[in-house]
Symmetry: C2
Subunit: 267 residues, 2 copies
């Protein structure tokens, strides 16, 4: 059933189908290795997994819609966003291959956020019942899903740490470092990376004005930490970039001894 969902981000008519099923056979083993980050190409069994191609700019998930589909990003990138009642679009996260999409529906009736493809992408598409059935049949898949979910929890805490930086330059530096580590985890270069988001989206994600994002990037470039060309960033001095990331306003250094006490428990 070739269902063609149409994105609504253009006030004019959407010309082509921006989301379409992909015929290529996808194996469960590939999905599992994608979820838990391992690169093992296990069994070659040919499970009938649904695969979708999503065009850049298309909206895969619609905020507020009760969405029956659960996704895992296979290639490409997405941003999630919530639109306030005044129309402001708050960017909430950046999703890369291996990340889950729409699993929030497991505990909420409606999707809490929209998901928009930042570039052409492919995603696995499962229904809730398919997910539970696969989990029951394949314990390895079950663990892989848990692995992916907890990994995203870790990512979330990392982003909280990025956001908690008080100074704009530090926040920007932390975000670049965070993205770098994510790219490294994907097997891509940790030095040269591509900002998939526009300045306005980065600003929204970091809670800054987009002019401040631009200024922070040029400032970091002027200090020799980065080389910036539009959305392409090269980290030229990682150590100094990390120093800038630490730099909270006023709190430079304090020798606070860390108390290390084991609150132990008898087994």
């Amino acid at each position: 059933m070739p269902l063609a969902l149409i994105d609504n981000h253009t006030p004019t008519a959407a010309p082509r189908n921006t989301i379409a099923p992909l015929a290529s056979g996808a194996t469960l083993a590939e999905l599992i290795s994608l979820l838990d980050g391992s690169s093992r190409a296990a069994d070659t069994r040919h499970e009938p997994l649904r695969l979708w191609r999503v065009r850049a700019g298309a909206t895969l998930l619609h905020e507020g819609a009760s969405q029956p589909w659960l996704h895992v990003v296979r290639s490409g990138a997405f941003k999630t966003l919530r639109t306030a009642e005044d129309g402001y679009q708050q960017v909430l996260s950046l999703l890369l291959p291996g990340d889950t999409l729409g699993f929030e529906a497991l505990c909420r009736r409606q999707q809490p956020a929209s998901a928009v493809a930042l570039e052409d992408a492919t995603v696995y598409a499962l229904t809730l019942s398919e997910l539970t059935a696969l989990e029951l049949q394949h314990p390895a898949f079950d663990r892989a899903v848990q692995y992916a979910l907890t990994r995203q929890l870790v990512r979330c805490a990392e982003m909280a740490e990025v956001m908690a930086a008080v100074a704009a330059e530090a926040r920007m530096a932390r975000f670049v470092l965070w993205l770098s580590s994510r790219m490294a985890a994907q097997g891509e270069s940790a030095r040269r990376l591509r900002l998939r988001l526009g300045r306005r989206d980065v600003a929204s994600l970091l809670g800054l004005a987009h002019e401040t994002v631009s200024r922070a990037l040029t400032a970091l470039a002027a200090q020799g930490c980065l080389r910036v060309n539009n959305r392409d960033i090269e980290i030229t001095d990682r150590a100094q970039l990390q120093a800038r990331a630490r730099h909270t306003r006023g709190f430079s250094d304090e020798g606070v001894p860390v108390v290390r006490q084991p609150d132990c428990v008898a087994a």
Copy 2:
């Protein structure tokens, strides 16, 4: 239950055992209902689940330690924090009953953050192998764990939205509303709530100066949104508080009715 227990935050030697096993028999059904938020008291089978009592101020999880224990908060509250190399303690999250603790170890060798009890608490304690065994034996438990993990993902996105508010007063207002909704989900009052964190911890969590937190609270109180007494907060005008939460700098309340979609489905 009496809530005004004094915390022993003395950095000197911990006198007594601050974490101790609890003999009370805990059922798997109770844990499942705790995880997925339902209140059904299902089967009365007496599974030998480990239960710990944690004194206020005690550190349940140590950052960096390879921790074999996975926890689910049964009562009380925790904060998670990461200490930077300069000694600054960054508060990352606030955990309440039903939240998981330490599951990040499922995809990381080390605990990414410490967890400190804000008040006397009880937690379930499982080893990784016990978790997987229980999940294999009891599909309901497996789904409950997934439910809890995705719920925490949703919470994480909510916190990102709180943090993304540019104005300090708006950020504070959003945090109070967020906490209120969490307390309501716990079955407690959404109007009168108790900040479990000190001003300094709230400031750290929100990325503000603790003086700013204090000022924002008094400002919101002066506007009639709140009544503040130390860590006890009463929401006196929820509508105005929500208006303040929307208030991003410059984008004041212009009546721009864009799209009015139903906020939530019944029950």
